[in-house]
Amino acid sequence: MRKLSRLRRRKITAPVLLFLALIVVGNAYAFIGATVTTSGATASNARSTMVDEGRQIFLRGCSSCHGLNAEGGGIAPALIGVGAASVDFQVGTGRMPLADMSQQAMRKTPVYNEEETAALAEYVATLAPGPAIPGAAQLTYERDGNTAEGGELFRTNCAMCHNAAGQGGALTQGKYAPTVMGVEAKYIYEAMITGPQAMPVFGEKAITPAEKLSMIKWIKAVESEKGLGGASLGKVGPVTEGLVAWVLGIGLLIGIAVWLTTKSR
């Protein structure tokens, strides 16, 4: 066990150190470059630097499973054409790198920071065209979303796996659809367009960007919903309700019945 965790720690630290070094060098280059070239060229320069950084991180942290050229391997899919959005979702939510091969990738504290994730995404995006990361300008669900319509879309497209209340649910062989409560709008959007893990892709034509924003708005509305009828009991349906009826309801009433039928002194 300890050996494993040490290994992981090493895996993490190496790219971090490397990346810090790269940032210093990269920024220095960018700074120097800015002084001599036009701004457009600066941007492209910066991007190519970023891609390079991303590639380095990839080689260190991802290539052992996904292949040196992201061509995939026996245990991991190819990343050519998955797009920046996929990388941002998987790495940004901490799902990748995987902690444990045996189980489904779970949300956890990300291994890479924002800049590293961005660099990785930039690199993978250069391999082949794929879905881009939705920017803040795109995620205007507050303004453009329609809550009720989003609910309809969610119930048709998502509720069968993620539950009508977005609480998540079971899939086959131990896989599960995670809860969508408390997930950032960006990641919800990315999940829909990239189809992470078992989740299918919901392309921009099958569900338009405007419809996606409506779904996000509905999710956010449900997320911030306060208790309307008491404790939610997990919002997973009648299973917990039956348990409460037996344990709390019948349990309490039997307790009272015992009090009622004992002779007082």
Partner: protein
């Protein structure tokens, strides 16, 4: 001798009555009275809370309660007031009964359920006499004709139930799908092109109709479709079924072949479809063959193609009834 051997332990009789404190101690009795009164007063307070909540708590006020979280204040306090009002009336009454009402146990004798032999004999005699007077035993014509008419009267209410619904006819075998009917998104009612679905994508679709605002649930319950796109080489289908797909896009009825729930839990990694109701699992590349769970049949597949404008359309109607099985269902 052996009877003596097996004689059970003797019944020592009802234990002597133990008196309660309140029975002989006036102070204890007064204390009990006060306790009962307090319980009843608590109930009155509950009613006050109930009335207050009903009239004065606004509908949009939420209150934070540990464990419960933010709660709708009116609903919560209405309920708590009601619960307190009711519970403490009961608690007071029970406490009253337990502490102050007589608690001397009473013994009542039981009577056997069986009537006495005389009563039985008398009843039988009466019945025989009455029946004999009516003459049912002899007049068999009356007996038979009465039985006939009673039987017929019994059937008539069943006849009245006939108009509860139409006869099934062939409707269970029919859906809106026919050659050339466009596949449109659900909801949204937009036509789809094959390139709108990338590999690994799904789309929930319905047939295009003239007035999508007034689509009936009856038709949705048979028409709902799930489009899935995988790599064409991954299909394990015979030539005919393969020809029903289009560039790796395959269309299945979304209505479970087991009990009719919407089967739509698609896992793009395993290419399995799961029904959340009873967990029948269908394998997409082999044409939704059942690989787990109670369903006995694959999901019906709809043949699809593209029209001249490049939109996905049905190539033919379903070749079988969709949804759960029924007696007359063709294989």
């Amino acid at each position: 001798m052996s009877n003596k051997e097996l004689e059970p332990l003797q019944d020592p009789g009802l234990p002597a009555h133990a008196h309660r404190k309140a029975d002989h101690d006036e102070a204890a009795a007064n204390r009990a009275e006060r306790q009962v009164a307090i319980l009843f007063l608590l109930s009155a307070l509950g009613t006050v809370l109930f009335i207050y909540s009903y009239i004065f708590i606004e509908n949009n006020i939420y209150i934070y309660i540990p464990i419960l979280g933010n709660q709708h204040a009116q609903q919560l306090f209405l309920g708590l007031g009601f619960a307190i009002a009711l519970f403490f009336i009961g608690a007071g009454a029970v406490h009253w009964a337990k502490t102050l009402m007589s608690d001397t146990e009473v013994i009542a004798e039981r009577h056997e359920m069986r009537s006495s032999d005389e009563d039985r004999a008398a009843l039988i005699a009466t019945v025989k006499e009455e029946v004999g007077a009516v003459g049912l035993g002899r007049r068999s014509l009356i007996k038979r004709s009465l039985a006939l008419s009673l039987g017929l009267v019994g059937i008539s209410p069943l006849l009245l139930l006939r108009d509860l619904g139409p006869l099934p006819g062939d409707v269970l075998n029919q859906t809106t799908w026919a050659e050339g009917v466009h596949l449109v998104t659900d909801p949204g009612n937009r036509r789809l092109r094959p390139e709108d679905l990338e590999v690994g994508a799904v789309a929930h679709v319905l047939p295009e109709i003239e007035d999508p605002e007034h689509r009936s649930l009856n038709s949705i319950a048979k028409d709902a479709l799930l489009l899935i796109r995988i790599r064409p080489e991954e299909f394990r289908l015979d030539a005919e079924r393969l020809s029903w797909t289009y560039q790796g896009i395959i269309a299945f009825s979304k209505i479970c072949s087991h009990m009719g729930c919407a089967v739509a839990l698609y896992e793009q990694t395993t290419k399995h479809l799961l029904c959340p109701c009873h967990q029948s699992t269908f394998d997409v590349p082999t044409g939704a063959k059942v690989i787990f769970g109670p369903s006995a049949r694959p999901l019906p597949q709809l043949a699809i193609k593209v029209d001249d404008a490049g939109y996905l359309v049905a190539a033919a109607p379903f070749n079988q009834a969709v949804g759960p099985s029924f007696w007359e269902r063709k294989k």
